[in-house]
Symmetry: D3
Subunit: 334 residues, 6 copies
């Protein structure tokens, strides 16, 4: 059984019900999430074998997180425990023109204490065929960056597929490393790039526009600079407001440019983790379909994720392929 | 006081809150429903006198079901009890492109044990002026089919109005009877046909398209084959996605074809039972208005049902007629 | 610190969750509201110093109301207590074509017992710079009308700004006073008119249409009749249905006519208090911005209020100005 | 079918979940109750035919109340509607040494407007065999007192059994009638007295102590003064604290004194309506058992009521008799 | 890693919140349970490796059940799926003298279709060191009895420890097999007997009383008749009422009689599954401690289970041993 | 108006409903608390003027905390904001023999960043008459210790009353200061000692037993060592289990020893903050009553706190004095 490896922080998500603000509430819902974990759980829910590597608190909150991950039959055996608390994020869900708001409590979390010697990468990657990473992990601490780098170097050495989602979030990267340099080093271990113009401009130091033409040019330049990368996938979101988005995707795989049609998501239930659902769909897809079909699968998975509460995509393979076969009018499954 | 008779299974509906899946939930909402019951309860809520005939479990769940029916002032005096459990259905409510999913636990329910000798039809129909049936009941078991047939034959003999909603659901009809033959026999007792091209094609063995012209042709052929039927009403649903539908209706009453305008249901709360709300509106309407006004009333009732959680239409006469008078912009009732 | 004064009834609002009717429910949410209070709380939430004057019950419900007001750091020191119960309103929230319904229990409430000698206006207005009133208060009882009149006369004498929102609700005004005469007397103390054609026609005895031209004419006539009034602000709502509205505003300040663009509120969370949010935005705005920017601020505040449950606008200054700077696509605030 | 008549106010009960105070809460549970209604609903739940006579609001809250009563298959056909609101009471449930607190909003309720000419007693009592009244109703308004008096006089004339629960609550009786005189007049129509030393002292003007001997003396004197009364039943509550009570009962029926053993109610769920459950058990019992067995049945019903949330006793005949047969250790019913 | 095998039905448990009856409720909590599953999950929660064998529905309810089991890191790989629905039980939780009530919907469940050829016992028991069974499974259907028998015979052949909890429930055993004969055959494969006088009398055809002396005699006779059985453990429950129990245990292991002290469970949260928690504690204990310490561990586990909602014992090893070390006064764990 | 000063961390408390563990839950309740804050809020709820000094996060969680404090009319004007997150604690509420469990996330909280120069003590203590501190604050960080010390020195210089609750929690005090030395320095500024044998032994380096005699000896020695201290109050808790405690208090004020009777708290709702309720009752009492009456008031307040959910004592003066007047049987307050 070949294993997909994800590595990154597990956060507890706390939010009032519906569209309430904390100031109006006295009850909350909680979930566990984190961009790499979301990818892992979504693939596990599709039936893939996924091992998530992270460091969580050594208390009943950490136990609860592990139990939550087990629900999805995720492999939690390589998880490390720490005496620091689990990271938390507080979420207020917006509506219409009101944006959602997030406040983090993660800077001294269990994961922030991770160091390369805490993870036995040899053991962890033993059955590994694919490694997925994002730009959040190297942006947190020197330790999380170093630990990721060690894992990716081994993955490269073992000839694994490596997907990179180098999301650049300017509020992070505070510990003293240069984002561009760090991402460059990590991209040198990667084979699939999941990201758009912003991310390419960030690592290339370019200034391409959003047009398809410039997307192709940027992708070519990226592949020149990072010869191991042979595919670029970009998910494009058009926001009418907080409650109504449109999604489509495009790709350049060195040979052809393709793009999908729009999904019109008229009544968003939860948009957190929709990018991760795209990545998960892509990783799952690339192991079963050709590039274009994989991108279509990923787009449909991403669109469906908007209808599930929580960070994880609860869509099944049957539900995603149902969308691709045109069942988008919401007839009952009996 | 003339009584409307409905006959069919009462199911307990269990679903997580909002758009959650069971796998995400640990709490549920429950309702009682069933296609014929929904019609009965909606008419009772309009103020009609309705007697529902069914067989339910002889435990506290059955007691709860009866209490639920009493809330609507439905006549529950003819209900039979059984040692088998009440049927249950589990519902996951979809959103946008995600369809709703239903799983049934009804094949050995209290109602599935019903036999003609368990219902005293003479007594039950004593004040009866109208009998409503659907294609679900004959599709369940030989006993439910036979019991319904016995009731309909008596209703016909007594000259009652009989409305048929011969919904054809292919997942049912598993006990060995031919659906077309069974429905034919039941339609021979009926006077009002509530259904569209699919249902007419099913019982006529034809292949008409959805066009208004072919609808008229099909209706004429239906009335030829079933001379007691003198009205055909069809509700047409256009689904943009699970959360956004449009509804309109059309009719052929042997003399004229009419159709209503679209209702644009931009934010669906619960679409279960909306077809039953249409039937209920029609049955109520035909006792107070002409055919076209009845169809308009039924359409408005159907549209309003999409705004109520649960299987039943909680709209009042005043709310339905308010819609018909053009109050669709949602001003407050104070 | 200059203080904004609001005066009016505090009501307890009781409503089932989501779109349920009472007949379906056994649990409720409660809030406190009231048109003038909503204005006061929204301004307090913006950081303004607001003193609300009212009479509430002398029981644990009244204590709860005061605690609720304190949450917003509203000045509750001038509130009077009574042995009568707090007024209550019951709300069923509509959806799509179903209107919301309200039932009041306020005719013998604590506030309905208010008399001029129960409020020490001299003391209450000591730091006062602005007084806001609405047409609901004089419509309730002779005592509430007289008490308001006494306050407004003192406010005028002290040269305070006085904003009038003379909403005319025909179901009120039952105690024997002529609405037009009463409103006239109160408008003579006012400096800012917040209302549209209907309200101007009511007090002027005219019959202007909704066109911008006639709005300007009506405003001019109003200012002629009430020379203290120097600004008229009108919020225009277009309702597609209960769940989807559009909002824009227009003004005449004696010199220029301006109007804002539409806000398209595609998924309303709660429309109660949205007019009050407009008034609050205006009052806050006029103390910081020019007339047009104030109206824009008020419109954005009003639009945002549709996304908060409860009567109060929980938007912050940053959120409102974010909207005005074009952040309407719902990107996350992290 | 002989009918039991109950007459009295229907109140909406609003309380936070568990032991919360309103000041801590933003959600509530609601029930409908009222001392005479509770008696009626409990008997209806035992399977008796009960007609409740009252006046309720003509809005969706009144509709909800009627639907609630219908759930129990109570006869609601004689209920009158009014434009005044339904009475409300707010409840904070205590625990251990903390008492429960109640605040009423009933002084101008729908029921407070009742007048003798609003009830057609002839029609209402047509099938009536038993009439139950309490001391709350005459204590509210002149109209409620007069209406009750009219009903009781007719009941006496028809030779019906009349049970009196002349609870004396000093916070009521504010409209100008002398409590003792009023109760005296009503007791002259009664046949069964449900009450203890306090109530007998109140109407007799005596000062008996709680001892069994003085209970017998008081009962004898009561029967002397009110010759139609032939049975006195007294429920004795010993409160360890708000969460833990003991219950027993005693009786004098002109011939013998009997008392029951204690029920030890170690974990009270809801004590509201437990006295009403005793009265209901007694009324039901006296139609099926001898005096002592009726009192035992009533005591067990009362004890069981402490385990149900809401004002009504949800115990079934089987559950009550199960207690009397010694099944008090809480073994499962499967 | 040695594996503990449990085999039995998985049921969905549905119950209203707190002590509500279904007739009062419209929301439910759900759990999954079943006597053998509860044992398995409790051991898994202690950290043991447990494989549960069962047959569940092939729908989203079955998926949810598997996800629930995975939460506890239970091995679900040997679970079989069926097109029949998952069994359900409805629970109303009693209080004080009110017993809890249960209604089952299991007679045509997925598990009721199990047949010996559906389970690959060779594969399932490969790592197995212990097999736990109860008297519920053979009481359901011929197929469940035969399947269990096949598994136990193999377990005996492999020399596994086999614990028997031959609970006799008279409402079951309806499919035509003699309970005593069936249990006898199964006990012949067993090594540890978990049960009391009632169960021993049932299988021995004796009539021993509850005294310790007769318990020893019965145990000796049992071991004579079933020579593979070398230990008998009995949990004794004294019920003050539904909310307050006392628990102690006794044992005869062929050499010595021992009994534990009482645990006084003054405020029961949920007593379902407390017997299963005892069995789980025993099975876990017997792999780590001597017989007496195992029984003490089991008693403490059983007592603790009364404080957790749901069927499963959420106590950890540390919590159980904490109790045994005397920490029963509820000091905080920080 | 004289002001009571409290200084200490504000924590967000997160716990599942009822007795659930996090591993069973997906919803939470939240409160704000902290030992010194609890004292402050309880006194504010009694009507005292209290100013709380702390440092909280500069995000919407911090805003929510301030709003929560405002509810109680606490003076929040001296609160400092920080970019670090608010401290959090997770609570699982035990029952019977199961202890409650707490996990903290506070080591890098907003409060942990506090430094003496962040608080303007001169300004903060301007109206101050009483300063309350506990042993938690100096145990957190050097900064919190230094800041407290600065405040206490000024309080002493101003001749304020200073109450010390030097709770010693061994899991804290990790930053390098010697607990005994630190507490000694702080006690030198104090006038009232709230604590028992453990706390006195800790600061005196003695080994007194729990007897009344040794309590008096210890108190005398304490007063010798700390001449400013003139009263010692000790609350004694006897725990039957997590759900059932007994509470009494004793005092030595240099002249007389007194003790109160036991309060038997048979059904605990929430024991968090009950010690703080005792301190609050004492501080409030000592400003209105003599020493013994103050201690009685404090004991009753402490007992009542066990009946309120959350960290704060919601008892009113009337409720506390009601208990002292013997109203402990839980009769209704109407």
């Amino acid at each position: 059984m070949s294993t997909i490896i994800t590595f990154g922080e597990v956060l507890m998500r706390l939010s009032p019900f519906g569209n309430k603000k904390f100031i109006q509430a006295n009850t909350l819902e909680f979930y566990f999430g984190g961009t790499e974990l979301n990818v892992g759980l979504s693939i596990a829910h599709f039936g893939g074998h996924v091992k998530h590597i992270t460091c969580i608190s050594n208390d009943f909150i950490g136990d609860t997180a592990i139990s939550y991950l087990n629900k999805f039959d995720l492999d939690t055996t390589a998880i490390v425990r720490s005496n620091r608390p689990l990271g938390v994020y507080f979420l207020e869900v917006g509506a219409v023109m009101r944006p959602s708001s997030i406040s983090y409590n993660r800077s001294h979390s269990a994961f922030s204490s991770i160091q390369p010697d805490m993870v036995n990468w040899e053991e962890a990657l033993k059955q590994g065929s694919w490694f997925h990473w994002t730009g959040i992990t190297p942006a947190l601490t020197q330790g999380s960056y170093d630990t990721l780098k060690a894992g990716l170097k081994l993955a490269k050495a073992k000839g694994m597929q490596v997907s990179a989602d180098p999301t650049y979030r300017s509020g992070l990267w505070k510990y003293g490393v240069n984002a561009k340099e760090a991402l460059t080093e990590l991209l040198e271990c990667s084979t699939v790039f999941i990201g758009g113009i912003n991310e390419m401009n960030e690592v290339l130091g370019t200034n391409y526009s959003y047009s398809n033409d410039e997307f192709i040019q940027a992708s070519k330049l990226l592949m020149e600079k990072f010869p191991t990368i042979n595919k670029v996938f970009d998910k494009i979101r058009t926001s009418i407001n907080s409650s109504w988005h449109k999604i489509r995707a495009r790709m350049w795989n060195g040979k052809e440019f393709r793009e999908t049609q729009d999904f019109d998501i008229t009544h968003i239930v939860d948009r957190i983790g929709t990018g991760d659902a795209f990545a998960a769909g892509l990783i799952y897809g690339l192991q079963h379909y050709d590039d274009y079909k994989s991108m279509e699968f990923a787009s449909a998975a991403c669109a469906l994720k908007h209808t599930y509460q929580g960070d994880v995509n609860y869509a099944t393979i049957a539900e995603v392929t149902g969308i691709l076969e045109g069942n988008v009018s919401g007839r009952f499954n009996r």
